[in-house]
């Protein structure tokens, strides 16, 4: 059975790109425009993987990531960070958030910096989902 992958990104260009890559690789794409909608979709649709943008208005990717990694029911959900900012800046802001919320979360398993070739993205998804 095909697996469901949720793309959370506020940029429609990025969404349609990722959606196309997923379709081409026989996954079922789901989309969300921001962190809030992302969490709703995760609860409702139970995707097998989340591709998450870091910088979004309202409930940024960093916050959603934090939420997922600090709530037991989501801890096992694999996440690919997919973003325009460098890993270094991401880790720094994550650290700030960790300190702020008093919980330390693991680093993301896969961190892809845009732009990404469709093959690289597909390979990352395959690595997580088989």
């Amino acid at each position: 059975m095909s697996k469901k992958v949720l793309v959370v990104d506020d940029d429609p260009d990025v969404r349609s790109f990722v959606v196309t890559v997923l379709e081409e690789n026989q996954y079922i794409p789901l989309i969300a425009q921001d962190g809030v909608e992302g969490l709703e979709k995760i609860e409702k649709e139970k995707p097998d993987l989340v591709i998450l943008d870091v910088l979004m208005p309202r409930g940024s990717g960093i916050r959603l990531y934090h939420h997922l990694k600090t709530h037991d029911q989501f801890k096992a959900l694999p996440i690919i960070m997919f973003t325009g900012i460098a890993l270094r800046s991401f880790l720094k802001s994550q650290k700030v958030l960790d300190e702020f919320q008093g919980a330390e979360v693991p680093k993301p398993d896969i961190y892809l910096e845009k732009p990404v070739d469709p093959e690289v993205l597909a390979a990352a998804v395959r690595k997580k989902l088989g």
């Binding site: 940029d11 429609p12 260009d13 990025v14 349609s16 790109f17 196309t20 890559v21 081409e24 809030v36 910088l55 208005p57 309202r58 325009g84 900012i85 845009k114 732009p115 469709p118």
Partner: protein, 512 residues
């Protein structure tokens, strides 16, 4: 205050000199003394005291003679004369020679203290006036000084001055009008000197400034340089810096002298400077754009991948969506290029007859789809009386587009998702006869820090999604259009951006 005024005391009676010295010293003054007019003059030259107190009756060179000599050396020096009873004639002579004050013999401490205080405050006023003075104003002081002396030098100085010099007598008739003045005002000297009055030569606004100056308190009479654009009778506009001195002779108003400097060249250089600073700013912060350009690249790459898939699979829908993405990003890069060009180039507005409300309606048509997709309510409230105006429609379009886009971004960025987000566009004519365009949003608003950086090149809080050029370009376009932008904002509540442009209504030609 200045420390320790130096006072020269001259009297042939040694005892008086000593007594006065003693009491003045205890009041904190520094004193030097002399026992005759001749000696007084020597000491004056050697010690250059601030104030001189001299007895009038002395053998040899008397007080009057000493006063005259001192005034020849330094006409500004404060000289207090000590007179005996019945010295009326010499008192009058002393007045004519420029004595500052008189005290009667025998000298009482209180009377002397008052006279000294008066002299001191005169000196202080002079000092503060001097503080204003730049080199040029020293020249002015010299010029006024020379005018008083009516020497040849005066004429030379006036005619060869790089400043325009115009002087009026007490009836406001022009008595001095130098070649530079003729150049600036465009009226020949023969038609002006002794013929025109201040109202013939100047526009009412400037004439009023100079006339009022005479009525002002003595110590406020001389104002620092002011700037103004003067409209000459032959229709030229010349930016000038001007200053003015009111002339008194024996405490009587005798006229005023005005100085003008043509700033045309300076203004041109200033403009060039601004221009090159602008270019430098673009250069320095261009790296800030890298993010934005990268985002465009991501869009283009993604779009072309989708197009490829569409071609391979013969999938029209993919083709269309990929192509849309590509087109959108091509537009982003061409807008960016356009903004950079607009920002770095000096541009004169292209004025034409246009309808601001048509522009607003077009923009709303263009943006309403996007607004709806983000749940933003778009509304307008336009002043019907505005009609057609003379303006650059491109400036209005571009400025409003940028500001409305920012307003919508502010709604999207807003953390408070319970708000009903709204962007309102209003127009009206204000009391200063400016046309006002107002864009009001109830989005995220700005904190003090963001507010300050708004017009900094490439400042954007939107990461790779903003260029930070929008307001910069808008600000420049509005400035070139002789307009202003006002901003009110409050974090979490929203912002209002108000553009004001000069309102030049075009009369509608109806009927025919």
């Amino acid at each position: 205050m200045m420390s320790a005024f130096k006072i020269l005391i001259v009297d042939d009676e040694e005892l008086i000199v000593r007594l006065l010295s003693m009491s003045l010293r205890s009041d904190g003054y520094q004193t030097v003394s002399a026992f005759s007019g001749e000696q007084g003059l020597e000491v004056f030259k050697a010690e250059s005291p601030d104030i001189v107190v001299t007895d009038i009756k002395m053998p040899g060179m008397d007080g009057l003679e000493l006063l005259k000599k001192i005034k020849e050396i330094d006409p500004e020096k404060e000289v207090i004369i000590v007179t005996g009873h019945g010295d009326i004639d010499s008192t009058i002579t002393a007045l004519q020679y420029g004595a500052s004050d008189f005290i009667n013999k025998p000298v009482r401490d209180a009377a002397l203290a008052i006279a000294l205080e008066r002299a001191k405050s005169k000196i202080a006023i002079r000092k503060t006036l001097e503080e204003y003075t730049t080199n040029l104003e020293i020249k002015i002081a010299e010029a006024t000084e020379e005018i008083r002396r009516k020497s040849n030098f005066q004429r030379l100085l006036i005619t060869s001055s790089h400043d325009a010099i115009v002087a009026f007598d007490r009836d406001w008739k022009v008595v001095v009008y130098n070649p530079e003045a003729a150049r600036i005002f465009g009226e020949a000297a023969k038609d002006v000197r002794n013929k025109m009055t201040i109202d013939d030569l100047y526009t009412p606004k400037i004439a009023k400034v100079f006339k009022n100056q005479v009525k002002d308190e003595k110590d406020q009479r001389n104002f620092p340089w002011k700037e103004q654009v003067i409209h000459t009778k032959d229709g030229r506009q010349i930016p000038v810096r001007y200053a003015s001195n009111v002339l008194f002779e024996n405490n009587e108003f005798v006229g005023t002298v005005n100085f003008f400097q043509d700033l045309t060249e300076i203004k041109r250089l200033e403009k060039e400077l601004v221009q090159s600073e602008r270019l430098a700013a673009v250069g320095q912060t261009v790296s800030g754009l890298a993010h934005y350009v990268k985002n465009i690249l991501i869009g283009l790459k993604g779009g072309s991948y989708i197009v490829d898939v569409g071609i391979q699979k013969n999938n029209m829908e993919k083709l269309r969506s990929g192509w849309e993405t590509i087109k959108k990003n091509i537009k982003r890069i061409s807008d960016l290029t356009q903004d950079l060009l607009t920002y770095s180039k000096q541009r004169e507005p292209e004025m034409e007859t246009c309808s601001p409300h048509d522009i607003i309606n077009e923009l709303m048509e263009l943006l309403k789809g996007f607004a709806a997709s983000k749940n933003i309510i778009f509304s307008k409230n336009l002043d019907k009386s505005i009609g057609q105006i003379t303006a650059d429609p491109k400036t209005i379009h571009h400025a409003l587009l940028n500001i409305i886009n920012n307003a919508m971004d502010a709604c999207i960025e807003d953390e408070d998702i319970t708000k009903k987000h709204e962007v309102k566009i209003l127009t009206h004519i204000d009391k200063n006869h400016m046309i006002c365009f107002e864009v009001e949003d109830n989005g995220c608003g700005m904190d003090e820090d963001t507010r300050k950086k708004l017009f900094t090149p490439m400042f954007s809080s939107k990461g790779g999604k903003g260029t930070g050029l929008g307001l910069l370009v808008t600000g420049k376009l509005i400035e070139e259009h002789k307009g202003v932008i006002e901003i009110e904002t409050s974090p979490g509540v929203g912002s209002t951006f108000r553009i004001k442009l000069p309102y030049t209504k075009v009369k509608s030609v109806d009927g025919n």
